[in-house]
Structure formats: C-alpha cells, structure tokens
C-alpha cells in the first residue's frame, strides 16, 4: 500500500529522512518494501497485514511513526464549521437502520450549495501519487479522507434520494441497482443495501449507485460515514466479485468512532474546495455503542513471553534497570500507541482505543510491547523441554535405505506435481488384483489448468512426463525415482480417539508410494563392456535389490492386464503374500501418449502398505567350513519352459548340498533346434559337514541332468568342468 511521507508529516513533526522512517516502521511491523522520492515527496510502499486496518491510512501510519520516534501525534482535524443560519440537517433528511447486526452506526451530514468541478492541484496530486484517479472535487474529498483517516465515505446527490430518506436494509428479492461502475447488478436478499424511500441506492460498504451519484449538476450532498459488519461487506463483495477500497477496509474492520470525525473532515474539505455550507447537526442512527475493551496485562507475563528480563543484569530493556522501571516502560510504549494505561501492582489495566480492533487479549498487548521495544532486543537461547529425544517419521528408515540403494544404482530422485489429467491417470493406473476395488481419482474443484483436473492415483503420470521431458531435451538415458503421495477416493482410517469430536476427514485415501522409471542404455558406454539398453530384467533386478536394502523379500507374480504396462511384460510385486506394487514395460499406447519412442520400464510400490511389514531379521549363519565347488551345465531346453522351474528342478535334487544356481548364459540361434533355447547354468555344491568328493559331485550332476530331462525336457549340450 502506498503512502505519502509529506502527508504523514502533517500529523507527526519529524525531520527524519525517508530511509530512517523506513527502518523505524519496518522494525514495528509496517514493512517498508521500497520508497521513491519525487516532487518534494517520498512515496513509501508498505506491506499491510490484514489485522491492522488502523494502519491502512496516513494518520494510522503517522501514529506508529510518532510512537517510534516518541514524538507527539497531532490530533486529527475532525471538526467542521456549521452554517448556523441554515436549516438543521435533521429536518432535511432522515437515516434509519433496519439491520442492526450488520450496521452498527450510520452518520450523515448535509452540505448544500456546492459547485462540483475538478479538484485543486494539491489534492489531485496526492491522489495520483497513490495511484488514484481524481474524479471531481466532492468524490475526491471523500477518497482523500479515506486515505487520510481510513474511514470509507460516500456522497449522495441529496436531491436524487426519494423521500430524502436513508434506510439501511437488506435487498429485496429481485431488486437491482446500477452501481457507479455502470454495471446493473441483481441483488440477493442477503446483501445489505442503503436505500431511499423507494429503491436501493448503494451496496452498503462496497459501492454507491449511479442514479444517486454526484454529478456536475449536483448542488446538495448527503455524506455517508457508516460502520458495517465485516462479514456482511465481505459476503456482498465476494458474491459480486467486487473489491473496492471501501470494502477492503470494512472487511478488515473499521473504527466505529471514526465515523463523525471523518464526516466532519470531509464536509470541511468539501466546503473548502467546492464551496457550499454545512447544515447544522449530524444525522445519526446507531445500534452499537463503543465500549472500550479493558485488558489486564501482567508485567511478569510480558517479560516471560518476550524472553526479556525487566530488572537489572542480563538482557535489560532499553531504559529499565529495575522491575518498576521495566513496568513503567511497558506503560509508556502502550500510552504512545494511544492505549489508556492504569498502573497497578505487577499488572496494568489497559483500555484499548476504538481503532485497535486487533487487540483482544493479553498476548496482543504483549506483542505491542515487543514490537515497540524491538525484537532485536530479545536475547537468544534454546528451549529447555524435557523429552525422550528425537523420533524419526514413520517409514523414514526404510525410505532412507531405499533412497540409498537407488542412488547407488544410479537413479536420480525426482519431484513431480500431483495435478494430472484424468486421461493420463486413467491410462497409467492399475489394480493389483481382481479383488481390488476400482480406483477412483479425486477431482479438483478449482484446478490450476484444465488438463490438471485430478489428483494422481499413481506416481507414473508425473514420472513418465519427466522421462519424456528429458528425452525431448536430448537426454536419452533416464533413470528416475520419486517418493510421493497418491490419492484416491476411499474411506480414511477411523479417526484416533482424540479427533472424534472434530469434523470428519475428507473421504480420501492417501498412499505414500515409490515409483521408478528406467529408459535408454543399461549402463554408460564403455570400452570394456558391450552396450545394451535396459530390459524388464533390469527393473526386476533393481526392485529386488532396493527391496533387499529395505529388509524385504519381493516375490513376483502375475498381474491383471492394463493399459499401462505392455501385456506379458509385467509382474506384480508381493511381499509376505500381500500385493504391494507392480513392475513392467510401459505399453505402446502409454508411450504414445507421452510421445516416447524408446522403451521405458517402470515400477511402483506402495510404501504405506509396507509400513506394518517388519524387515526380514538378520540372524548370523556360521560361515561354511568346507569348500564349495562350482560346475557349469550347458542345457538345451524348450523355449516354453520357465526358468524358475529349471532352477527349482536343479535345487530339488539335493537341497542341502546345492548352495546356489545361477543362470550365466541364455541364447537362441540357428545352431539350436527350433523351439529350443540354450541356457548356461552354474551350480555351486557345498556340504556343511564335509568336503564333497568328485564322485559325490558327479553323482549329483548325473541326477540333475536326469531330472532336467525328465521334468523339463532338457538335454545336455556339452558339459564343462567335468573330468
């Protein structure tokens, strides 16, 4: 909000330079963001908080500056000379309030014989400097007072008011009003209006009406200075999508005692610049008296909440060197802010002035003292709070293990937004079993963009978007993971006991998930190793390794088909019999949606589902005391056989003596019969109790070959490692 320093100086005598003023105001909570000097004036840009409507005008800022500098504040010139010979205002017009809850006070003055025309230069310049457009001398005078004293005012052309009556009432059903901006608005009965004997003539606290506005033909005025309820003005302004300087202030709370001084100031200013005379008397209707709030302020509480000590030694406030001095300091700073302070023993009784609507309780006064003394005076210490020591977030350790394993595997962590299009989310989401209920996304009522209208039910849309982003920028090798939340329609878990009396949680199920995407080369090009692209088995191996790092053993199972993953190249990930995720190659149609030509392999796991799953415990097994012997078999097997069965068959021959079975080669080609593939398998034999002899190993190999032939239709191609 803009303020003129020259204008402020009309109320507080100071020669302080603009930068000095800026420092003082900022330290008190009126943050001066910038200032600019032009034409013998400095315009300050001050950040205004919604709780300080009393500062949204020049007199209010002057009040703060005066307190900061300990200079006197000039009384507000809220008086006017009435024309004693003129007819009393009360016999020219009347005001009445029908809605006492929404309007606490309505005051009016009548000014007759004005000559409407352009404002004098000095006034127009001031308004222009604040970014206001001058209209005419009467309207400008009301705006001037708003910016000077914070009270919104309105001037009616008295002659246009039917019955010369002002009634503050709710709009009638179907009533319409053309407002000052020329728009004809249909009003609803919840809106508070100012009406004359027959029509609504203004939207209370928001904007006046065109038919009763001041024009060049106007000679007699009815000036309005009223006090409307913040919520009423806010509702009207919101429902009409209209925000004005007046509504802005009323919404935040106006000073009910400012009505008459502002009215007087405006009337006086109008007669000064537009001529005319002020009829004797103020027309007033009032439903709410101002009763100053009185707050007991315990000085010990002040010091303990601010962390300052009042007495000598330690961190002493500016002038205080005893408790009594400290208490006096509190009284002084509050008095400077126009609080009425009565000193008591160990506490003060503080009466809150009418303009300080934000001061409701002791803590509010403590803030006043704190900001007056300056937060720089507050010392630093660390809180002494007994407790059991830091506790990490649920799932933190496993998440850290996963993250570490993924980084070691060369995967970068991504962070994507949860706003996705319903279509891409639909393509990429997938139930893990036929029993799982349909996944229903949560729509956003007011999305940021039309194609970001739902919350993701899967992390894949964002992650695959990131893969596409990278490929489009020439990065072909993309390895990304994300740990984030997904959202679906569901019943949230029943609230814990302490939340039972609070409103229920929205019907949303939140899941913390981990997703990975691999695309491009499996490893950097190298002079030592041949190049190849990532495959299904890379994502499978990575998921196994990552889960092992998190103390979990995944089992890969079948998965219902979906749009997301290429049919036949997808698997479900189970842990301890529970489905927790999926892996696979992205389907052609999903890749097309993102314009990705190369293959992308993805995985998505629910970390929330893993929270209750304990890690596989570690129990040390004694190291083998007898040597292991490895032998390789080169097999020819029907291509239709699953490798898992080969491995099981081999291990089944001598479970206690076969330490491992590893596939080290797999090939197809012309040298093999049709429908057959070659497989090289390394078998490690080891006995816990003795060194195996060649005879024993050969005997087992023979049985393995026989079993493979019998059960898997496999034959030996040749053998290595045999004598």
């Amino acid at each position: 909000m803009k303020f003129s320093l020259e204008w402020i100086r009309e109320f507080v005598e100071t020669t302080a330079e603009p930068d000095e003023v800026a420092v003082h105001l900022t330290a008190r909570g009126l943050a001066v963001e910038s200032f600019e000097t032009a034409h013998n004036d400095t315009i300050l840009e001050i950040e205004m908080f919604t709780n300080r409507p009393d500062c949204m005008n020049h007199y209010g800022v002057a009040r703060e500056l005066a307190a900061a500098l300990a200079h006197p504040l000039c009384p507000y010139p809220g008086t006017v000379s009435e024309d004693g010979k003129a007819e009393a205002a009360g016999s020219q017009a009347s005001v009445a309030i029908e809605e006492g809850d929404l309007c606490g006070r309505y005051t009016s003055r009548i000014v007759r014989g004005v000559k409407v025309g352009p404002s004098p230069d000095w006034l127009a310049r001031r308004l222009l400097a604040l970014g206001m457009r001058p209209v005419n001398n009467v309207v400008d005078a009301t705006n001037y007072v708003l910016w000077e004293f914070g009270q919104p005012l309105h001037a009616f052309d008295l002659k246009t008011l039917a019955g010369r009556k002002i009634i503050v009432r709710k709009a009638h059903r179907g009533e319409a009003l053309t407002t000052l901006d020329g728009i004809r608005r249909t009003l609803d009965p919840a809106m508070l209006v100012i009406a004359d004997a027959s029509h609504a003539v203004a939207l209370a606290g928001v904007m006046g009406g065109a038919p009763t506005m001041v024009t060049e033909a106007t000679t007699d005025l009815l000036l309005e200075s009223a006090h409307f309820s913040p919520s009423s003005v806010r509702r009207t302004a919101r429902s009409l999508g209209l925000s004005t300087d007046a509504s802005y202030r009323f919404e935040r709370g106006a000073d009910i005692e400012a009505s008459v001084p502002a009215l007087n100031r405006a009337a006086s200013l109008i007669t000064e610049i537009a001529g005319g005379s002020v009829s004797p008397g103020v027309l007033e209707a009032r439903t709410r008296a101002f009763v100053p709030r009185s707050i007991a302020l315990r000085t010990r509480r002040v010091w303990s909440l601010l962390g300052l000590s009042a007495g000598a030694g330690g961190n002493t406030v500016a002038s205080g060197n005893s408790v009594a001095d400290g208490d006096r300091t509190i009284g002084d700073v509050l008095t400077r802010l126009q609080f009425v302070v009565t000193q008591g023993k160990g506490s003060l009784t503080v009466e809150v002035p009418s303009h300080r609507l934000d001061i409701e309780r002791e803590e509010d006064l403590i803030e006043e003292v704190g900001r007056s003394l300056g937060y720089d005076a507050i010392p630093e210490r660390l809180p002494l709070i007994p407790g059991s020591g830091g506790v990490e977030r649920r799932g933190h350790r496993r998440e850290t293990a996963f993250r570490g394993a993924l980084q070691a595997a060369g995967v970068h962590e991504a962070s994507t937004t949860p706003f996705v299009s319903a279509a891409s989310d639909w393509t990429l989401r997938q139930r893990l079993s036929a029993e799982e209920p349909a996944i229903e996304p949560i729509g956003i009522e007011n999305p940021i963009a039309l194609d970001q209208e739902v919350l993701r039910t899967t992390l894949l849309p964002g992650l695959i978007g990131a893969v596409a982003h990278n490929i489009n920028r020439g990065t072909r090798e993309v390895r990304l993971f994300e740990i984030g939340r997904t959202f679906r329609r569901g019943t949230p878990p029943p609230p814990p006991h302490e939340l039972r009396k609070h409103p229920p949680a929205p019907p949303v199920e939140e899941t913390v998930s981990l997703a990975l995407a691999l695309s491009g080369a499996a490893r950097p090009i190298s002079w030592l190793d041949p190049a190849r692209d990532v495959t299904f088995w890379d994502i499978k191996g990575l998921v196994s390794a990552v889960m092992a790092a998190g103390g979990l053993e995944p089992v890969f199972a079948g998965l219902p088909t979906s749009e997301a993953l290429a049919p036949g190249a997808a698997a479900r990930v189970d842990v301890r019999g529970e489905p927790i995720g999926r892996i696979g190659g992205l389907s052609q149609s999903a890749r097309d949606r993102y314009g990705i030509k190369q293959e992308v392999f993805v995985a998505e796991l629910s970390l929330s589902a893993l929270w209750p799953v304990p890690s596989e415990g570690v129990s040390f097994e004694p190291l083998p005391r007898f040597p292991a012997v490895s032998r390789d078999l080169s097999l020819i097997i029907p291509a239709s056989r699953e490798y898992r069965d080969i491995e099981r068959t081999i291990a089944g021959v001598a479970p206690e003596r076969i330490a491992s079975v590893t596939l080290f080669d797999r090939f197809a080609g012309e040298m093999l019969p049709a429908g057959k593939i070659g497989a090289g398998v390394r078998i490690v034999f080891q006995d816990p109790e003795k060194t195996l002899t060649s005879e024993e190993i050969n005997e087992m190999l023979d049985r393995i070959v026989a079993a493979l032939g019998r059960e898997m239709d496999a034959t030996l191609r040749d053998s290595t490692g045999r004598p």
Partner: protein
C-alpha cells in the same frame, strides 16, 4: 618329483601352459596360477628351486639356468594373459595404460528438496525434536479454523486454496500437523513437520502450486520469543554457515501472537548486499511467533501454564537460496542435467 630335475622343469612348463589356457580371460584365476607356480611356500617352480642347493654343483648350474628361464617365461605368460584379460598387471611389473577411463559407476542423486529436508530433520532430531507427518488432503477445520482462521476471515485471502470434489482441500501449509500432534500429545513437546503444501498459484519463477514447508513447534513451561530466536539461529547456522545472524520483524499470522517474520543475514555477502539478498543484506525465510493462546486452548492446553513457539519456512526457498537456483520450476521439472548437479551436495 623325478630323479631327473630337467624333466621336472619340462613338466612344470607344460603344466603351466595347460593351466594358463584353462584360466584365459579371468584375471583372478590367472593370479591363482601365479601362486600355483611362483608362490613362496607352495609354488611348484619355487619348490624346484629350493632343491637346487642339494644338487651336485655340476647339475646345479644347468638346472638353475633352465629353471630361471622358465621363471621368466611364466612371468611373461602371466603378464600377457592378464593384459588380454583386462586385469591389473601391476604384480608383474608390466605397465598398463592407467590413463584409460575407469569404469563408470554413475551414482544417482537425492533431490535438492530432499537434501534440504533431511538436513533440517537431522538438525532438529539432534535437538530432540520428533518428526511428525500428516495428511496432505485436509479438512477446512484443521487447515483454517483450528489455526484461529475462522470462516470469512480475511486471512483466508492470503492463501488461495485448492478445493477437492467431494469435500476437503489440499493443505495450504503444514500447520494442521501441529494441531493433530497437539491433540494426540500432552505437553511438553518439540516437533517439526516437513511436507508438501499447495496453493492455487500460477507457476512462475518464484511461485509453484506445490511447495514444501517445514514447521517447528515447541510447547513447554516458560517458552519465550528468546527460545524461538535461539532455535532459528541454530538452524540457520547449521544450514548456511557459522557466521549468519537471524532477525525477527513483527508480522501477522493468525495462529501466532506475538507474530514475526524471520530473516537470515545473507550468507553469500555476509550482509553487505548482493544479488542473492537483493542488496538488502537479509534473506526472508519464513513466519514465526508464539503459539496463539486460542490455538493452545483449542487443543485443550492450558495457555496459562503452557506457552510455545512455532515457525515455518519454505524448503524450496531454502534450496533455491542455498544452491543459487533462480527458478522454482526447475525443482519440479526433473531435468537430469539439473538433478545430476546435486551429486555430493548432501556431503
């Protein structure tokens, strides 16, 4: 061992050649062959050489020459086998081209937002704080009302909220976690709650509809603004370096009273004024204050007995300042060329 030592040499030679063929291409096995023939205690050639001293001098000379010749042959054979296997030849004294690029082990990176979050978690875990978590989809009650922001309060305009079909909203700050935690915990307590928050901001260089916050809450006996200031300073020192200072400036947030904005002296220019701090010497970090008594009373705490401080700051903002990132959108674009730059940033 034969009686004819020269035949022994021939036998060792052919055994070596056979073994070398068997292990071709596998550096580790080639090393085993070295031990088998040249090993100090059990090497076959070593053993033969040990017998030399027992031979008559006439035989000793011829055999010594033959054995040493074999030794050279074995060493050369091992070296060339190792070289063609791509393994180290150091043991043989033969040079390899050490300037050839080492095998690439591309280590992945943690996201800068994670780095900052974990750094802050570590600072506060060390000070005995508990890290709390809460839902991102919230009710109006926890996001606003319980934080002293009633319906129709102008403070709601400060935060443009994303509302969800079927009820609920995306939390506009992580503060609801404070309420949830206080409801389930008796004072005293010290917590931080890091997490995502959402506002209906059009994305630009400094705004993102998704951002990350961390908030701290400490409730105890006699907790004051001094505790807040000291805690903020400790966090700032650990994040930005030992020389930074903090300052509080009065500000307004409905859920704290007194309320403040907290700034950190610019760690780039030490407060002299530079591009990072926009020449002000200070970097605006977040909001803070003493927990409003209405908030404490709302969760059933006696505000006479207990006082507390709370503060919140943007993890995105800290990451941007700390790593000199000029555009917040980079944090959500996931360009690998951006992410890769954070290798080692957590060290």
């Amino acid at each position: 061992m034969n009686n004819d030592p020269v035949r022994d040499v021939e036998e060792i030679r052919s055994a070596f050649r056979r073994r070398l063929d068997e292990v071709a291409g596998v550096p580790a096995l080639i090393q085993e062959v070295r031990h088998e023939f040249l090993g100090r205690s059990r090497g076959r050639l070593t053993a033969l050489l040990k017998t030399l001293k027992d031979l008559p001098p006439a035989q000793r000379g011829a055999l010594g020459a033959a054995a040493n010749q074999l030794r050279t042959e074995i060493e050369d054979g091992l070296a060339s086998a190792l070289q063609s296997a791509g393994g180290p030849a150091g043991a043989t004294g033969r040079a390899i081209d050490t300037t050839l690029p080492g095998t690439s082990f591309p280590i992945g990176t943690a996201h800068p937002l994670t780095l900052v979050r974990l750094a802050i978690e570590e600072i506060f875990l060390g000070m005995g704080y508990t890290v709390e978590d809460g839902p991102e989809v919230e009710s109006d009650h926890f996001n606003f009302t319980a934080l002293n922001i009633p319906a129709d309060h102008p403070a709601r305009d400060m935060q443009d909220t994303l509302y969800l079909e079927g009820g609920g909203l995306l939390r506009t700050h992580t503060s609801p976690v404070q309420i949830r935690t206080m409801l389930k915990t008796r004072p005293p307590l010290k917590i931080i709650c890091p997490g995502r928050a959402y506002r209906r901001d059009a994305p630009d260089a400094t705004h993102s509809p998704v951002f990350n916050q961390v908030e701290a809450l400490a409730v105890g006996h006699g907790i004051s603004l001094a505790d807040l200031k000291g805690t903020l300073h400790e966090m700032a020192r650990r994040l930005f370096g030992p020389r930074v200072r903090v300052r509080l400036i009065p500000s307004y947030f409905p859920f704290v009273e007194p309320g403040a904005q907290f700034d950190v002296s610019c760690f780039v220019c030490d407060g002299d004024g530079c591009r990072t701090c926009k020449r002000s010497g200070w970097i605006e970090m977040g909001g803070a204050g003493m927990v409003h008594p209405a908030v404490l009373e709302g969760v059933g705490y006696d505000s006479e007995e207990w006082t507390g401080f709370a503060f919140g700051c943007g993890i995105d903002r800290i990451a941007m300042v700390k790593y000199d990132i000029s555009d917040i959108r980079l944090l959500y674009e996931n360009d690998v060329r951006f992410l890769e730059q954070f290798r080692g940033a957590g060290a």
